[in-house]
């Protein structure tokens, strides 16, 4: 287990205890207190949502949308069924935080979803779990069973009028299902092809019914906020960037893993927590928010803090909080080639620019990597990218283009070198 710093989501979790995930351990460290408090004190839906707004919790799935605001969009008095959906389809290269949450602290997510159901008047929820983590899916199913037996889930929760059913849905290998409307399609038993928006899930979601979708970490932060108050959560981070956040650090560091630290922590500190650069090598580049975020040169990163606003200012995005660290030995052409291949493979294929464009991007980068590139290829990449970005149904199109744009912006010379000399500037990955 590789979580080295603990904040909201991993509050009190003992990673050395194999039973730390269980409901008993969770209750011992204050779990389900928030739910009990809500039921016992009859806290209103509005009060919960207000608390979330105070906390300034922003969605942890990538877009960083304020959660309190999202919850307030859910039509409260809709006559039919409404749904609550959790997005544990973590597949963004670099991201592995949600996996650790459902393996080590599943009840935080469950409690967060129950509270969400309560706050929005929703009685049925699903957690969509990434295909490749079957063991985590089984762990989550086991946790659900515990929660049902303990009376936290199901009919008349804790003797109240409130009922909430929660089920796990297992994916089977498609990155695109992380996109919320593709996820809904997949939950409906279809191919995971994103829907055109509007309508948004809040009015037309699962089975065409109003639906709220949040990321695992987002939900798992909720019990803390209800228990300790939104203000306390906000103060853990910085204004407009409340709370702590899980950062998944991978790549050339000594101790890759998840670090739950206050938003606004300097990147340099985070890097140090992760044991510094592996083999003492020099930092070359960092992708600060999952593979879809533009790459930033190491020196820029060393000057920035880890929060939504600061990273945006630096020219990238915090995304899911996946930090991919690359040292001086990494060939940027190779790195981009691998990322471009990923988007080409994972494009759902429905819209023209993404289906045709991601393959084109990949083939041109691949050509450069194989020493067959031409100087004009860089302009071609930029132009093809422009024809994809902003013209697709979902943001995968943009996600595929951003790495290309970031690389060309900061490492253009390396690409030109590659074209000219038909080989890498530096040895390899």
């Amino acid at each position: 287990m590789t979580v080295y710093v603990k904040g909201v989501v991993f509050d009190g979790v003992d990673f050395d205890d194999p039973n730390s995930w269980s409901i008993d351990a969770y209750i011992q460290r204050g779990g389900y207190a928030a739910l009990k408090k809500i039921i016992a004190e009859g806290i209103t839906q509005d009060a919960i949502i207000a608390e979330l707004k105070t906390s300034s919790l922003r969605g942890r799935g990538g877009a960083g949308f304020p959660t309190g605001l999202k919850w307030s969009f859910m039509p409260r008095s809709f006559p039919g069924q409404k749904y609550l959906v959790c997005n544990t389809d973590e597949g963004e290269p670099g991201t592995f935080k949600d996996l650790d949450i459902i393996v080590n602290n599943p009840h935080a997510l469950i409690e967060g979803m129950i509270i969400g159901g309560y706050a929005m008047g929703i009685t049925v929820g699903y957690n969509y779990i990434h295909g490749e983590v079957f063991e985590a899916y089984e762990r989550f199913e086991a946790a659900l069973e515990e929660a049902r037996r303990a009376g936290f889930l199901g009919d008349n929760i804790l003797g109240s009028e409130f009922c909430f059913q929660l089920h796990a849905h297992h994916g089977y290998g498609a990155y695109i299902c992380g996109e919320e409307t593709a996820l809904l399609e997949s939950l409906e038993g279809k191919k995971g092809q994103p829907r055109f928006k509007p309508p948004f899930p809040a009015s037309y979601g699962l089975y065409g019914k109003p639906t709220t979708i949040n990321n695992t970490e987002t939900f798992a932060s909720v019990p803390y906020i209800v228990r300790e108050g939104g203000q306390k959560f906000l103060e853990l981070g910085k204004p407009n960037n409340g709370g702590t956040k899980l950062f998944s650090i991978s790549g050339h560091v000594n101790r890759p893993g998840n670090y739950e630290i206050p938003l606004g922590t300097p990147f340099a500190d985070l890097l140090e927590m992760a044991g510094g650069m592996r083999g003492g090598k020099k930092i070359k580049a960092v992708i600060p928010g999952g593979s879809s975020a533009p790459v930033l040169p190491g020196h820029i990163m060393m000057e920035t803090t880890m929060d939504y606003d600061a990273i945006a200012k630096a020219g990238s995005m915090l995304g899911s909080g996946a930090v991919i660290v690359m040292d001086e030995t990494v060939c940027m052409v190779k790195a981009l080639r691998r990322l471009s291949y990923f988007y080409y493979e994972e494009s759902c294929g429905q819209c023209t620019p993404c289906r045709e464009g991601t393959g084109w991007l990949y083939r041109v980068v691949d050509r450069i990597e194989r020493g067959l590139g031409r100087p004009e290829d860089l302009d071609l990449l930029e132009s093809v990218g422009k024809n994809i970005a902003g013209r697709t149904i979902c943001a995968l199109g943009d996600a595929a283009v951003m790495p290309v744009q970031g690389m060309l912006k900061h490492f253009r010379d390396e690409f030109l070198h590659h074209i000219e000399h038909k080989k890498c500037l530096v040895p390899g990955f």
Partner: protein
């Protein structure tokens, strides 16, 4: 209403309008591929990107709803650049094979590509090659040309009702296909050919036979079912090469059924009869018209003289035109033979007598799906009325409650609100139960003749659907009778009960007319009686193949065989070669002017699109000469229009006055539960008329497969028959052996064995009693 400005033009549109629709309403064309007004919005091709004021990115016009005050630019720099970008993407993997592509000249991709004047491609990688798929005998594929617009997928799922085509795989590797080893079997499948904006899905029969610019286009009307779909018939060198839909929202929308589309193959068939022929000494000789008609005239005269005119029977089918039927009827009466008949498949003589007018749909076609509830009594709906079934499917999606009373619970690909499965000889009792249940629900008087009925739960379910649907002021429901009701030996009683049910619930009664001119034949006063029920000396068969076009093929064949003279007017050499004495080559609908009256009472006229083949002549002209020859008055018509004028002096309004579904003078006599086996002998979709029978591609479809003997699981068990067993079937003298199939959802005690097929034509009555044993 919302205000929107498109390229500087202001207009107001209703709420919910999309930008593409708003633009279309003022004649601004926004290029598109995936958008289709009858399909759900996919927004996947991205061709329709336009600039919207305040939006940072171009938006797809097809999926963007109009907001009040919106300003849209379809030709701005942003819009054009976006469209060009999409076009480039679409072409990088598209083969540049327009010169050999069947779609060449009518390809939306080609058109738009030319519009954007695509320079040479910046894509230098190898193009994608996608293997072709076997979608069956009607649709040919060239999948490398596919641009993934998913129109075909959405069509099968949303319009045809069953997702037979899908997009398998993901991303660049995704491919349009049917399920491995399965073909596309929908009865309206051919529409995907029209929907495909490129040459990926094309017509298999038409493939490589002509280029679109060589074809001339003529309007026509489908001669098959009672809907009267509007057609564009495409012609090259006096030959029909292809048939496409002519859009008519009120009738066929933009669709046609596969039989409307592919039956044209029969027009050019080897089996066409092109010369008059007479049989002499058992040998067929080709002759000229003069000789043949004189032979017929003399024969008829001498038979009338020797045996009396009432020994002559004149029989057509309701697939003939108004003009043909009018003259045929006139001729029959002039001969003293009484009315001609089109009713070979009817079994209940009481119906025609009781009917107070021409039986029709009772409402415009477009209104049917606006009903709150529809009860269909006795119909293989999808096969009898492919497009009407489609309309009802769309209605059901909007909340129309569809109920059925039928011998078989066939898949309609629509939600069914209530159903009552009953053997054909007990449908009267079943419907009587519905009538009684409805009366009880409405607290209305129970009609005396159904007082003894015992409504089952299913009957009560149907009654409730109808009663609930009409509860609110202005809400409509329909009770529609199909072919299985019309051909039922107790059809008149079913008609009475349908009227009673309508009276109680406020529903409208309608008939799903079997053929293109079923309504026309009744308006013109032809009978639906079985003229062969008594022995005849002379029989004139007009477009009628008695073995297929009669309720009891066996009896009809015996009757014509014993006649002294049989004259067959036909476009084809058919079974009459065995039993006729004269074959007169008349033309099919494509080679004559004429008209049909469809099920909603609409008179639709058309002209010939090609010249008569060989020596064949339009039926009305042949009848004119024959009429004159038999020295009767009033057969002098210069053209088809003159015939029509005489037939329908007041045109369509005259037709309307004759439409009525009221039946009088028939008593409903409830019978005890039936025992023994009864046949359900429906007419298969591709055996229904002379053209479909001879269309090779249609005959290769699954719907054209040889009939099986269907049994319910319980009946099969009782008879000790298992799936795939060979069984012996007997009706009267006739027998045959068939393969048994177990059909869940078939009424018990029923042997479902289609009629009108070469392998079953020798059997007896379509809904008669039948024996079945394991062979």
């Amino acid at each position: 209403m919302l205000e929107i400005e498109i390229d500087g033009t202001k207009l107001t549109v209703p709420n919910g309008t999309t930008v593409i629709e708003a633009a279309r309403s003022i004649g601004t064309h926004i290029p598109h591929f995936c958008y289709h007004k009858k399909l759900s919005i996919a927004a996947n091709c991205r061709m329709c990107l336009v600039q919207v004021e305040k939006a940072p990115k171009p938006l797809p016009a097809c999926a963007t709803p109009v907001n009040d005050g919106m300003k849209v630019y379809t030709h701005s720099d942003m819009a054009v650049k976006a469209q060009q970008g999409v076009m480039e993407f679409l072409l990088i993997n598209h083969p540049l094979d327009c010169p050999i592509c069947d779609q060449g000249g009518e390809c939306q991709l080609q058109d738009i590509a030319v519009g954007y004047g695509g320079s040479s491609s910046r894509y230098e990688e190898e193009k994608r090659v996608v293997p072709n798929k076997d979608l069956g005998p009607l649709i040919s594929t060239d999948m490398t040309r596919c641009i993934h617009c998913t129109r075909c997928v959405r069509f099968t799922e949303e319009v045809a009702g069953m997702q037979e085509i899908g997009m398998a795989g993901r991303g660049e590797h995704s491919e349009i296909m049917s399920f491995i080893g399965m073909t596309v079997d929908s009865e309206i499948s051919g529409n995907v050919i029209d929907l495909c904006p490129v040459g990926a899905l094309t017509s298999k029969p038409f493939r490589y036979t002509a280029r679109t610019w060589e074809l001339s286009r003529r309007k026509s009307v489908s001669p098959h079912d009672g809907l009267g779909a509007n057609l564009v018939v495409q012609v090259k060198a006096d030959r029909v090469m292809r048939v496409l839909p002519l859009e008519n929202e009120a009738i066929n929308e933009c669709w046609i059924a596969d039989r409307d589309r592919f039956a044209y193959e029969a027009l050019n068939s080897e089996q066409r009869l092109t010369k008059p022929m007479v049989k002499q000494g058992g040998v067929w000789l080709e002759t000229d018209w003069q000789t043949a008609l004189e032979y017929v005239g003399n024969g008829l005269k001498s038979i009338s003289r020797d045996y009396g005119a009432d020994t002559v029977a004149v029989m057509a089918t309701p697939h003939s035109t108004v003009e043909e039927l009018f003259l045929l009827n006139k001729l029959s009466q002039a001969l003293g033979a009484g009315s001609a008949s089109v009713g070979g498949r009817y079994a209940d003589e009481r119906l025609a007598a009781a009917q107070q007018g021409a039986a029709w749909l009772g409402q415009p076609i477009a209104d049917v799906a606006q009903s709150k509830a529809v009860l269909v009594v006795g119909s293989t709906l999808r096969k009898e009325q492919p497009l009407l079934a489609q309309r009802l499917r769309q209605g059901a999606k909007r909340g129309l409650k569809l109920a059925i009373l039928n011998p078989a619970d066939d898949e309609l690909f629509s939600a069914i609100a209530a159903k009552l499965i009953s053997r054909p000889d007990q449908m009267v009792e079943a419907l009587a139960g519905v009538v009684k249940a409805a009366a009880e629900l409405k607290q209305a008087a129970v009609p005396a003749d159904v007082a003894a009925a015992e409504p089952c739960a299913a009957a009560r379910g149907i009654a409730k659907v109808l009663v609930d649907a009409t509860a609110a002021e202005g809400d409509r429901a329909s009770v529609l009778l199909g072919n299985l009701a019309a051909h039922n030996p107790r059809a008149a009683e079913l008609a009475v009960l349908a009227n009673q049910l309508a009276a109680i619930t406020g529903a409208t009664v309608g008939w799903l007319s079997e053929a293109a001119n079923t309504v026309g034949a009744q308006v013109l006063g032809l009978t639906s009686g079985n003229l062969l029920s008594k022995p005849r000396k002379a029989v004139l068969l007009f477009n009628n193949e008695v073995e297929f076009d009669s309720h009891d093929g066996q009896a009809a064949l015996a009757a014509v065989k014993q006649a002294e003279m049989v004259v067959a007017f036909s476009a084809f050499k058919h079974g009459a070669v065995d039993y006729a004495d004269v074959l007169l080559p008349i033309t099919p609908f494509s080679e004559t002017a004429g008209s049909f009256i469809n099920m909603e009472g609409k008179l639709q006229t058309f002209n010939g699109v090609v010249k008569p083949l060989g020596d064949s002549r339009p039926g009305w002209k042949v009848l004119r000469v024959l009429g004159n020859l038999l020295a009767s008055e009033g057969f002098d018509f210069d053209n088809a229009e003159a015939v029509r004028k005489a037939a329908l002096p007041q045109g369509e309004s005259g037709v309307a006055a004759k439409l009525s579904n009221t039946v009088n003078g028939v008593a409903v006599t409830l019978q005890a539960a039936a025992t023994g086996l009864v046949r359900m002998g429906e007419v298969p979709i591709y055996q229904a008329d002379a053209l479909v029978r001879r269309a090779p591609s249609l005959q290769k479809t699954r719907d054209a497969a040889a009939p099986l003997a269907g049994l319910s699981p319980a009946t099969a068990a009782q008879l000790g028959v298992a799936e795939g067993d060979t069984v012996k079937v007997q009706q009267g003298e006739a027998q045959g052996s068939y393969t048994a199939t177990i059909m869940a959802g078939l009424a018990d005690g029923v042997v479902r064995l289609a009629a009108a097929h070469p392998t079953t034509a020798q059997l007896g009555a379509m809904f008669g009693s039948i024996q079945l044993t394991r062979a």
